[in-house]
């Protein structure tokens, strides 16, 4: 019997369903219309979120992927839509987020002719994707899409772009789907090398002052339990990178806070005091290491990573442990002798006390003056039982957010780490809420970043997405202003912002909201926001000249910490 023929667009839909997709963030247009037409028949199986700008589609797909562990899917048309999606694709590469972005393309006979809305999507996205492929024949769609999901989600995850010519969407083919789970030239799951596991265990067993650096790799490989078992058995204190936050709950006794430029004093200073530094699923980014010439020179270094290209990239490694953290951590833990490092761990105490006294108390519990960012964030975290999902934009709001929000569960932080993309927050929060509908999503934005993707309030209105949006309004591009104050002689070049009435804008989108600027009204306002059934915009008017401390100036030594107390 002859097989029934279907269009390329239907092949796409069938394959997406077969790959477990039930949510797509997208925006239609000419070169993807046959697919959108077919999507109309799949409304019962696939929920499509109509964003207001294609950048929003990619960021929302990122937010969705980060909280759910699934592959985020975005779908856009050709030309300007594909270029609008670029920022989210680049962001996903930097932050290892599994994403499949499907773009429409002009019909294959027109390719290369500068046809209307033709753009070389593959050429543009090759440097910012794990894989980018143009489909010109309907019969290749199922293969390419399945391969895309395999590549995006395996090994070190990342974004994949599939660009589909319009005639491939229309032409009819006999559909055949074979799930791709092997590519000869791509070995995402390295074999664990027993020798390096033994060597790592040996170094840890000998260490007197070990320090672990926890990155997002732990979360991506679902190795949170293995990590805690590892840390507890050998009694190793740790700091997290910004993306590694929430892999272990904030109140774990070995959790010494965040690494990096605005991280906690303890783990940053101890980096240059420990005798063994253990990087786990992190990549020694310059925001974490500062000047490499003075970074952890006294220590031996073990680096657990699934991406061989990361090992030895920035810091020389004594023992590399190449592999999936879930496997490698368990293997090393099995060889560890239970240990206690009580004296070493006690040395974090003075750093904690100093930071608490010089920075944290003042930021969280001010007695007078205007509201402070840290104060607002801490209260929101408390009011949501330290169990919400933190989404941030970029700038001071981000650094304050990751410093003062607390976590009980994994996958509770969605922030643009590697690319530092302003405008990420609001659409990412939409994706996060859709990916984790049972959780409270608290999205902190600066007045600058909010206005970069403010149009996504429309998506929130249409989809009735229950996100709690907190704009920390300082009427400044705060983080740039901070650098101007510290490093550019207080010359505030183009950082003052005259802002609109944000609450009125929200109201126009049928989103409830209010301004809070008085300390005595803050608790009530936060309660009102959390109790509100639906999305809510809380605009907290905060001090104009707030500073994020501690701070390690860019490119200097990790111990060069400014506390801002003089």
């Amino acid at each position: 019997m002859e097989k029934q023929k279907i269009t390329g667009s239907e092949a796409l839909m069938k394959t997406l369903v077969a790959e477990g997709v039930d949510t797509i963030f997208g925006y239609p247009g000419g070169a993807i219309m046959p697919v959108y037409d077919c999507l109309y028949d799949y409304r019962d199986r696939i929920r499509h979120i109509l964003v207001r700008h294609e950048q929003g589609a990619t960021h929302a797909a990122q937010g969705y992927a980060r909280v759910s562990g699934k592959v985020g899917v975005a779908m856009v048309t050709s030309g300007p839509a594909a270029t609008n999606a670029i920022t989210g694709i680049a962001d996903a590469l930097m932050d290892s987020t599994p994403l499949v972005v499907i773009s429409g393309q002009v019909a294959s006979p027109l390719l290369g002719s500068d046809a209307f809305q033709e753009i070389d999507v593959i050429g543009i996205t090759l440097p910012i994707t794990k894989w980018a492929y143009q489909v010109r024949r309907a019969e290749d769609i199922a293969w390419a899409i399945s391969r895309a999901f395999y590549i995006a989600s395996s090994g070190r995850p990342g974004p994949v772009v599939i660009d589909i010519a319009k005639d491939a969407q229309i032409n009819k083919i006999e559909y055949e789907y074979n799930k791709v789970n092997y590519i000869r030239s791509y070995q995402p799951l390295p074999d664990v090398n027993a020798d390096s596991v033994a060597a790592a265990a040996e170094l840890i067993n000998q260490a007197k002052k070990p320090l672990a650096l926890v990155g997002q790799g732990v979360i991506l490989s679902n190795a949170e339990k293995e990590l805690v078992a590892f840390l507890e058995k050998a009694d190793i204190p740790f700091g997290s990178t910004i993306l590694g936050l929430s892999a272990v709950s904030s109140d774990h006794p070995l959790n010494k806070g965040m690494l990096g430029m605005h991280g906690n004093a303890g783990p940053n200073r101890k980096t240059n005091e420990c005798d063994l530094l253990i990087g786990i699923g992190m990549r020694f980014d310059d925001r974490v290491t500062g000047d490499l010439k003075t970074y952890a020179k006294q220590a031996k270094i073990i680096h657990f990573d699934i991406d061989l290209a990361e090992i030895g990239k920035n810091v020389p490694t004594t023992v590399p442990v190449h592999g999936d953290a879930k496997e490698t951590l368990a293997a090393v833990t099995a060889l560890l002798k239970p240990a206690k490092h009580t004296d070493w761990i006690a040395t974090f105490k003075p750093d904690e006390e100093e930071e608490n006294q010089k920075v944290i108390q003042k930021e969280l519990y001010p007695k007078s003056g205007q509201l402070k960012m840290g104060e607002v964030i801490n209260k929101v975290s408390e009011a949501s039982g330290h169990d919400g999902i933190l989404v941030t934009d970029v700038g001071q709001n981000q650094m304050m957010g990751v410093r003062y929000f607390k976590y009980k569960r994994t996958r509770s932080v969605v922030t643009s780490g590697g690319l530092g993309t302003m405008g990420f927050g609001l659409p990412a929060a939409i994706g996060a809420k859709i990916g984790a509908p049972d959780r409270t999503v608290c999205c902190f934005l600066g007045d600058g970043g909010f206005q970069m993707t403010i149009q996504e309030l429309g998506t929130i209105m249409q989809e009735k997405t229950n996100v709690k949006i907190i704009v920390l309004n300082n009427n400044f591009l705060g983080m740039v202003r901070q650098w101007q104050e510290l490093f550019f002689n207080e010359r505030y070049s183009e950082t003052v912002m005259e802002n609109p009435d944000f609450v009125a804008i929200a109201k126009a989108y049928n989103i409830a909201g209010r301004v809070v600027d008085k300390r005595e009204e803050l608790d009530g306002a936060i309660q009102e926001m959390l109790n509100h059934d639906g999305a809510y915009l809380l605009v907290a008017t905060v001090e104009t000249c707030g500073m994020v401390y501690p701070m390690i100036p860019a490119g200097t030594t990790v111990t060069n910490i400014i506390m801002g107390d003089n």
């Binding site: 593959i122 050429g123 090759l126 440097p127 794990k130 894989w131 980018a132 590549i151 789970n181 092997y182 590519i183 000869r184 030239s185 791509y186 070995q187 991406d307 061989l308 290209a309 090992i311 030895g312 990239k313």
Partner: protein
């Protein structure tokens, strides 16, 4: 500080479009100049081989090769120095027939450089010589300082390792094994 020297990067890949672009991006991002480049099918069916030379340090080469290796359609990338390799470049020289014949001692010259005449007509002669860069360059110098060279072209380096088989073969066998295990 390690000093720069000439490295030969040998890359095995699937035969898909866009790979050269992906490889070039890694070189460009690290500001490495590609000195020579040649691409051809390898001894293993369906697998292509890129041979690229560049001046760099071992530390950088190590990172570059890992970043290339990471691309999905790349099977394996290696870097080598000249000691590990047997390598050649091929050069073609176009000369005026008249001057060439007038020059005298032509046969001697051809023998000395181990070159050969590929083609000759009334107006011009094409000579071919393969060898290392210094060798093809020496002939070029000699010809240009005597009778002049009308046209000159040198290919990218081709190289094979001194080890017995294509290094990739073992790796491929290992991968096939893995696939078998996965299937069963």
């Amino acid at each position: 500080m390690s000093t720069k020297k000439l490295y030969t990067v040998i890359i095995f890949s699937e035969n898909t479009v866009g790979l050269l672009n992906q490889i070039a991006i890694v070189f460009t991002r690290r500001q490495l100049n590609i000195e020579t480049l040649s691409v051809s099918p390898s001894a293993i069916e369906g697998i292509h081989k890129f041979t690229i030379t560049t001046f760099s340090t071992e530390d950088i080469m190590d990172k570059v090769v890992k970043q290339i290796d990471k691309r999905v359609d790349i099977l394996k990338a290696y870097y080598n120095t000249d000691e590990d390799l047997v390598f050649q470049e091929i050069a073609l020289y176009k000369l005026s027939t008249e001057l060439f014949l007038k020059m005298g001692a032509v046969e001697e010259l051809i023998r000395k450089y181990n070159a050969r005449v590929l083609e000759m007509n009334e107006s011009c002669v094409v000579i071919q010589k393969s060898g290392h860069y210094e060798e093809t360059q020496a002939l070029f110098k000699e010809l240009s300082s005597t009778i002049g060279v009308l046209q000159f072209i040198r290919s990218g380096r081709v190289a094979i390792t001194k080890s017995k088989v294509e290094r990739l073969s073992d790796m491929l066998a290992e991968m096939e094994n893995k696939l078998e295990k996965k299937r069963s």
